[in-house]
């Protein structure tokens, strides 16, 4: 009985801790590290005495709030996308970054924005979607992921090579287009500095659809963990499951890249933390991984603003600096 009750205790405690970490990050990121010297009190003032003339309140409402919201939702998307990929491939290192889905999206986004050939005619969301698809398909076909004897390690190494190829192409394209633009470096590293309410209105509808799609696959992913044959025997249409998961991953990743560039390694870290904190049920893991991703990006964004104020470090560099050691740890721990 004791074991049961303590399990019940942690069942409420862990999500509560997780949520409060996220909320704290969200609130601090609304006022922290500003040229306008915002304070927590200003947030309180918005609630009790809204004043459309007050410059501090306007900064929070027009710049800070959308940015924090977008940071959270992008983090949520990436966390969910990573979990979906790991669930589908049963490969613990699967993630948008390592399977070149991020860099594929970034590559076509770059070609789209510099007006290269017919890519410029596409809407940017579609271009990134196609790029994400391109990256993923390249990795799977070249890494032998479609064969029955596919090897997890080979798939990852192929992902890294495709990643290198695509990001080189992106750099080449951007340099040819405009050799003076230092912002290239920012965008390529994943940055939230250009976010406003318009970005939010671009982000949430597609994210909502993709997330609903993602959650509809959770039971299928639970069964997929037992192996394809067993899942099939339990009445799961594997092909249909794959299509839905891939679609969700591509949507979640590409919409995030469209707005903020490739924010790396969130899709790798969040699912692993989620699995360490919660049980194996994807119905629980999906929101947990999403929340962890949201908290991660939110705090990383806060950190990125506080390192050298008033300049901003791209948030993707922060996540890369956290993510790569984590990646090394996973490889050495024999998680593959």
């Amino acid at each position: 009985m004791k074991i049961l009750s303590s399990a019940g205790h942690s069942k409420t405690l862990t999500p509560a801790l997780l949520l409060s970490t996220l909320m704290l990050g969200f609130i601090i990121s609304l006022y922290g590290q500003s040229e306008f010297l915002l304070q927590a009190n200003d947030l309180w003032q918005i609630l009790i005495a809204p004043d459309s003339q007050d410059i501090k309140q306007q900064v929070i409402l027009l710049l800070r709030l959308p940015r924090s919201l977008v940071a959270c939702l992008i983090g949520f998307n990436l966390g969910v996308a990573g979990l979906l990929m790991q669930g589908l491939t049963r490969n613990p290192l699967a993630s948008p970054t390592l399977f070149a889905i991020n860099s594929g999206a970034a590559c076509l986004m770059a070609l789209n924005s510099i007006g290269f050939a017919f890519f410029s005619a596409l809407p940017s969301e579609l271009a990134t979607f196609l790029g994400a698809l391109l990256g993923g398909v390249l990795v799977f076909s070249l890494g032998g992921g479609l064969r029955s004897d596919s090897n997890a390690l080979r798939l990852i190494l192929a992902g890294i090579a495709v990643n290198g190829l695509l990001s080189s192409l992106t750099r080449a394209a951007l340099i040819i287009a405009d050799d003076t633009a230092y912002s290239i470096l920012h965008w390529l590293s994943g940055s939230l500095s250009e976010i406003d309410w318009h970005s939010w209105s671009q982000l949430w509808p597609l994210s909502l659809i993709a997330l609903l799609l993602a959650f509809s696959t959770s039971r299928g992913l639970n069964l997929n963990a037992l192996g394809e044959q067993t899942a099939n025997s339990l009445g799961i249409n594997i092909t249909w499951l794959r299509v839905r998961v891939c679609l969700a991953v591509l949507l979640l990743t590409s919409i995030s890249v469209t707005l903020a560039g490739p924010i790396v390694f969130v899709g790798l870290i969040a699912p692993h933390l989620a699995r360490a904190l919660f049980n194996n049920n994807h119905l629980v893991l999906l929101p947990a991984s999403g929340l962890l991703g949201a908290a991660l990006v939110c705090w990383a964004d806060l950190l990125s603003r506080s390192i050298i104020p008033p300049a901003e470090t791209p948030v993707g560099i922060i996540t890369a600096l956290i993510g790569t050691p984590f990646f090394i740890f996973l490889v050495l721990k024999g998680k593959l």
Partner: protein
Amino acid sequence: MTRYTQLLLSGFLLLFLLACLSLAMGAESLPIKTVLQTLIHGGDQDFIVNYYRLPRILIAILVGMGLAISGVLTQGIIRNPLASPDLMGISGGAGLAACTMLLIWPNIDNVWLPPIALLGGFSAALVIWLLNRWHNPSPARLALVGIAISAFLSSCINFLLILHPVEVNSAMIWLTGSLWGRNWDYVWPLLPWLIVLVPFSFYLAWSLDLFALGEDTADALGVDTKGLQIAALLSAVALASVSVAVCGTIGFVGLLAPHLARLLVGSRHKLVLPVAALVGALLVLSADTLARNLAPPLELPAGVLTAIIGAPYFLFLLHRYKGY
């Protein structure tokens, strides 16, 4: 004349022709005749040919050789076809050290670049070596760890460059490797290192052949395997680091050149080393020539071009490699 001599000679010829071509081509194209005249007598084009393009070509050749030989030594010692200085984080460490130094003391003399880069390269190698000792990962997993360390180091470089914004071309040197703006001031610090290290690696060639039979066999044949491993790895790290010190982390050359050389002349190190050096020089020189001429007066980083050739080759290696 043996086939090998023919191969070597034609390689040199190709390199020479490519160098001439590279001297002639650029934002301002010159006829070959003018180029040759200027080389000997100077003249109107003296600056472009002798002070701008010539040192750059020399550096491309030297760096290509250095990276290629470093790759041969690494693959020979680790006996892992996926190993190379840039995939193992050594180039990344050297790049980070050199870049940090330049950002902190922008006016420091170039002579200090190679030793500082060497320090960075050795630290990265030490980390890999320690991880390898503690965890003893399989070859493919070791490659993965190396790549992850490289990724970490390059995000550190990225981070530094954001902290201290520099001109985009010089940023690209440290992010992808480029020969932009490299002149005679960079040739001299590089040269003595290569003059010592290249012959030394040829001296190791015979022992490396024996080492390829396995550590125990080499021991039985009287090779000091511990000493050989240390000597070869140290020179590999040094060669890669000094190359990186001058023109950043030009990727995949250290992986590609040894493989191509072995494809051409088999596996004996005495034969492989010169051919690999030639192939490396050709690779970097052609990448740089292309980089200057694809969209003049704009310049692409040479490292971007080597990655565009190198990454597909890496995929091909993965396809053939069986020992996961």
